[in-house]
């Protein structure tokens, strides 16, 4: 064989992995997902506080891409680096898809579903959703409102709902809901203890 540089190529491969990860982290949703490394095994079982258990067997996230021989000859490793955006996009889509499916499954199990078609003029879907979920508060007493994930075709409608939430009647309801959430959060915090 002709002279080669395997050590360099190993580092280039690792660099591509880093670059793809950096591209993926530009997506706010992906970046907001906490990451944890699992070193061994082929399945993960998570048991939540409310006895909700899920088992996953680590589905693969795969993205492939093409570069022409001419590109490789002319540009070298940069030809592969130039594909980082495309790879990141496809991987982000798969992760988002899996996360949405997982959240969908979780909401089906817990019943945390708001049927938007049945919402009346005196209620607001965003407020309905907030009423159904747990809200935590920080040390300054401010609520930590979770992110809302919507499909692109729902984004305009969601913006309308958020605007609607600013109406005085809705704000009054919002404050009452937040007060209730505050009391629920205090109860949860007070339950972090050892009892008989």
């Amino acid at each position: 064989m002709l002279p080669d540089y395997p050590k360099l190529k190993k580092r280039l491969n690792a660099k591509m992995t880093r670059l793809v990860q950096q591209e993926m982290d530009k997506d706010q949703f992906i970046a907001s997902i906490p990451k944890q490394r699992v070193y061994e095994g082929n399945s993960l079982t998570t048991n939540s506080v409310d006895a909700y258990s899920t088992t996953t067997d680590f589905p693969q996230i795969i993205s492939d891409f093409e570069v022409t021989r001419e590109q490789i000859v002319k540009e070298g490793p940069d030809a592969i680096f130039s594909k980082k955006g495309q790879v990141a996009k496809r991987m982000s889509e798969q992760i988002t898809d899996q996360m949405v499916k997982a959240m969908d499954h979780a909401t089906q199990m817990t019943g945390n579903i708001v049927n938007v078609k049945q919402v009346s003029e005196t209620s607001n879907p965003i407020l309905e959703m907030i009423e159904k979920i747990e809200i935590d508060f920080n040390k300054q007493g401010q609520p930590i409102i979770p992110s809302i994930v919507v499909s692109p075709d729902q984004s305009e409608k969601t913006k309308e709902y958020l605007k609607d939430l600013q109406r005085p009647e809705m704000q009054e309801k919002y404050q009452k809901v937040m007060a209730r959430k505050w009391r629920e959060w205090l109860d949860r915090e007070n339950s972090r203890k050892l009892v008989d």
């Binding site: 061994e40 095994g41 082929n42 915090e189 972090r192 203890k193």
Partner: protein
């Protein structure tokens, strides 16, 4: 190639280092090894007492290097003891037929050979056994024959073998690499039991070759870890194939002897040193981690000896050293947990409740306060048990930062440590930390099947994660702890004193079952709470 490797090793080793491998060779030749003298303390001219395949008792005296006339004169007294004094061992009659064998990894000069021949005439006339001699060429042949066909033959495996062989013996053992090598030579395959026995014997010799650099530099802990890995893979083979003791126990016991010898040497060195620095760029956290590792291993050693011999008097000097150096310790991450547990169990042995509670209590406090989900004081959570002290030090001293975000909110050992407190009915301590504890996701990896726990890395198994209940019932905690069984553990580790060494070497295998098994070797006094 293997001949060159064996010859190189044999030429550069000494009688202390080749004693155990030589015993392994004897076992493959059908000898039964009865007794080995402690290092440097030959007993009546005999380093090894064994019976040969005909049941004839044999005394072996081991020497290093070439023996010329000058050297032979120096050892003549010991040779006389070897030949003239009967073997002193229970069950061996003093007046029975026996053999006396001088072994050296060098060669004998012609004059010495002639002298021995002449002396043998006299010995025979006086009713003593003739002195037999085994030199380098015979030893070389024995060792090569012992390997048989059990050598790493695949190129990547041989490359790993050479890489390990050429190590300079400094630093921590590369356990991942050693495991990879051991898996290549000790992996289970369809073969008769006698073949497996030969494979284990050959592997012991190969392990000796690769660990020899550590033994030469007196890097005791790295050598010990290598031997613990060897024994773990031997147990894996024995358990997977349901082998009777006769096929693996001799090799396993020789290795335990080796490990304990290295620990004894470590203890002697530690107790006689006035400074604990090693070379330059030392001190600080590096020194602190050294104290934890050494005293953890020495604690395990004392408790191991106690467990195999209940009348053994545990050396209180190690316990005293823990008390003296307590403020010099550093918990770098969860791979430190087994060392702290060893020290805890030793303090418990000396009924020092204050120290023992403090050791485990501090760990629970640290893990719950620093690893909890909403820790916002800017400190980094503790690394999981898959990260060695060296990796954490590299991160601490800015060389190669770890991604500590992934440790946030998670702990592999917290639940096992809480179980220890539950067994001791220490409710009030746990209650004071419970709010933080409730913010940590406790997890454990369970290999599948259980005997895969012997492997350094398992590709099959389940990682289980959960939060404690809110609120958490003390009664339920006790029920949960009582229901922890040893089903997730390999069988040969249950009730096995070797488990102490295993967990120090494999910190990522410390879990609820293994820690309970370790804890159950001592009586757990119930405190009023």
């Amino acid at each position: 190639m293997i001949e060159r490797i064996v010859e190189n090793w044999l030429t550069n080793t000494n009688e202390r280092e080749y004693q155990i491998p030589f015993c392994q060779v004897l076992v493959t030749q059908g000898y039964k090894v009865l007794h080995l003298s402690s290092h440097g303390q030959m007993e009546q001219g005999k380093d090894i007492i064994a019976t040969d395949y005909q049941g004839i008792p044999c005394g072996f005296q081991l020497k290093t290097g070439d023996i010329d006339g000058t050297e032979y004169r120096k050892i003549k007294g010991e040779i006389q003891e070897l030949v003239e004094i009967p073997i002193n061992y229970p069950g061996i009659p003093k007046d029975c037929k026996r053999r006396a064998i001088l072994v050296t990894n060098g060669i004998l000069s012609d004059k010495v050979r002639r002298d021995i021949d002449d002396q043998n005439i006299g010995y025979k006339q006086r009713g003593y056994p003739e002195l037999e001699v085994k030199t380098k060429m015979e030893l070389l042949q024995y060792f090569i024959e012992a390997h048989g066909g059990f050598l790493p033959t695949e190129l990547p495996d041989f490359k790993t073998f050479l890489e390990l062989l050429l190590s300079n013996g400094h630093g921590l053992a590369n356990k991942r690499l050693i495991s990879h090598f051991l898996e290549s030579i000790l992996s289970s395959r369809e073969e008769p039991r006698t073949q497996i026995q030969r494979r284990i014997a050959s592997s012991l010799l190969l392990t000796e070759y690769i660990l020899e650099p550590f033994e030469k530099t007196k890097n005791y802990i790295s050598a010990i870890e290598g031997w613990v890995l060897f024994n773990s893979y031997t147990l894996a083979l024995a358990e997977k194939n349901n082998l009777n003791d006769q096929y693996w126990r001799a090799s396993y016991d020789l290795t335990i002897l080796k490990i304990n010898r290295e620990l004894k040497l470590l203890k002697e060195e530690f107790l006689t040193r006035t400074t604990f620095l090693e070379g330059s760029w030392d001190g600080g956290l590096i020194l602190k981690s050294r104290f934890v590792i050494v005293l953890g291993w020495l604690s395990a050693f004392e408790l191991f000896l106690k467990q195999v011999n209940p009348s053994y008097k545990v050396d209180n000097r190690i316990y005293e050293q823990i008390r003296i150096h307590w403020n010099d310790f550093w918990y770098w991450g969860e791979s430190a947990t087994p060392f702290y547990v060893s020290m805890f169990l030793l303090a418990d042995n000396f009924s020092d409740k204050k120290l023992s509670t403090r050791i485990i209590g501090d760990l629970i406090a640290l893990l719950s306060s620093e690893n909890k989900l909403d820790q916002d004081n800017g400190s980094s959570p503790y690394a999981d048990p898959y990260h060695s002290p060296e990796e954490v030090l590299l991160s601490e001293y800015g060389n190669k930062k770890m991604d500590s975000k992934s440790f946030r909110g998670l702990s592999y050992h917290l639940e096992s440590l809480i179980d220890m407190m539950v067994r001791r009915n220490n409710r009030s301590f746990l209650a004071s930390f419970w709010k933080d504890i409730s913010l940590v996701r406790v997890c454990e990896f369970l290999p599948s099947p259980a005997l895969k726990a012997y492997n350094w890395y398992c590709d099959a198994g389940q990682q289980i994660e959960r939060y404690f209940d809110r609120p958490q019932s003390w009664g339920k905690l006790r029920e949960d702890e009582a229901q922890v069984t040893y089903n997730s553990m390999p069988n040969l580790l249950i009730n096995n004193p070797f488990l102490r060494y295993f967990l120090l070497c494999y910190p990522h295998r410390l879990g609820r079952a293994t820690l309970k098994a370790l804890d159950s070797t001592i009586s757990v006094p119930k405190t009023q709470n």
